[in-house]
């Protein structure tokens, strides 16, 4: 059983469309991070959210941490082909936790 469930697992849309990726759990997380991973490379950190209800924006990407700190979403506005990649959410179960728990990832393809 996956502690962090990401949905959808695969998403293919046209350039210019909007999309939302979800990361859900029944567990409470101290903090949650979103990563983007290109083929053959390691994950690159996009954002960390630590407060319930927190919203962070990174250009066309909007990240939200649920009020109960059990879920998060990533919204991309006007997607571009350069957004293509594997998006991973990862959480720390408690402050000072020694490990990150990752979701299985969402593979996003933006078609020109």
């Amino acid at each position: 059983t996956q502690l962090l469930e990401q949905s959808p697992q695969f998403l293919s849309i046209q350039e210019g469309e909007n999309l939302t990726v979800y990361c859900n759990s029944s567990s409470v997380f101290s903090s949650l991070q979103w990563y983007r991973q290109e083929p053959g490379e390691g994950p690159v950190l996009l954002v960390t959210v630590v407060t319930g209800g927190e919203v962070k924006k990174l250009k066309r990407l909007t990240f939200q941490f649920g009020d109960a700190r059990k879920d998060s979403s990533l919204h991309i506005t006007a997607a571009q082909p350069g957004d293509t990649g594997l998006y991973l959410c990862a959480g720390a179960l408690k402050e000072g936790a020694q490990k990150l728990v990752f979701g299985q990832g969402t593979r996003l393809t933006i078609n020109p």
Binding site: L4, Q6, S30, S31, Q33, Y35, G40, E41, G42, P43, V44, L45, T48, V50, L88, A90, A92, E95, G96, A97, Q98, K99, L100, V101, F102, G103, Q104, G105
Partner: protein
């Protein structure tokens, strides 16, 4: 400044063999963690070392071991390799023991194929 560096980048081993993977953290970072990423899945935590001591261990068999050296570099060792050990092994470093909002930086990984 150099990021997290890992070696080798790719290697092929035979079942039953042993492998050593190496990681150099970002300069000044004292925490190193190892993750295994099987194709099509998210990374899974194997170990964390901080100040040369093991601070966390994931649900992996004793065939997996690691250590951290005085210069904070680290090695991951896997004995008696199985086909299922084929994966991307990621090393991550951070400046201190994990806490809220602490940024973790990943290397590009070592691709291990067991045949």
């Amino acid at each position: 400044d150099a990021g997290v560096t890992q070696s080798p980048t790719h290697l092929i081993k035979t079942r039953g063999q042993h492998v050593t993977l190496r990681c150099s953290p970002i300069s000044g970072h004292k925490s190193v963690s190892w993750y295994q990423q099987v194709l099509g899945q998210g990374p899974q935590f194997i170990f964390q070392y901080y100040e040369k001591e093991e601070r966390g261990r994931g649900n992996f068999p004793d065939r997996f071991s690691a250590r951290q050296f005085p210069n904070y570099s680290s090695e991951l060792n896997v004995n008696a390799l199985l086909l299922g050990d084929s994966a991307l092994y990621l090393c991550a470093s951070s400046s201190r023991f994990w806490d809220r909002g602490n940024t973790i930086y990943f290397g590009e990984g070592s691709w291990l194929t067991v045949v």
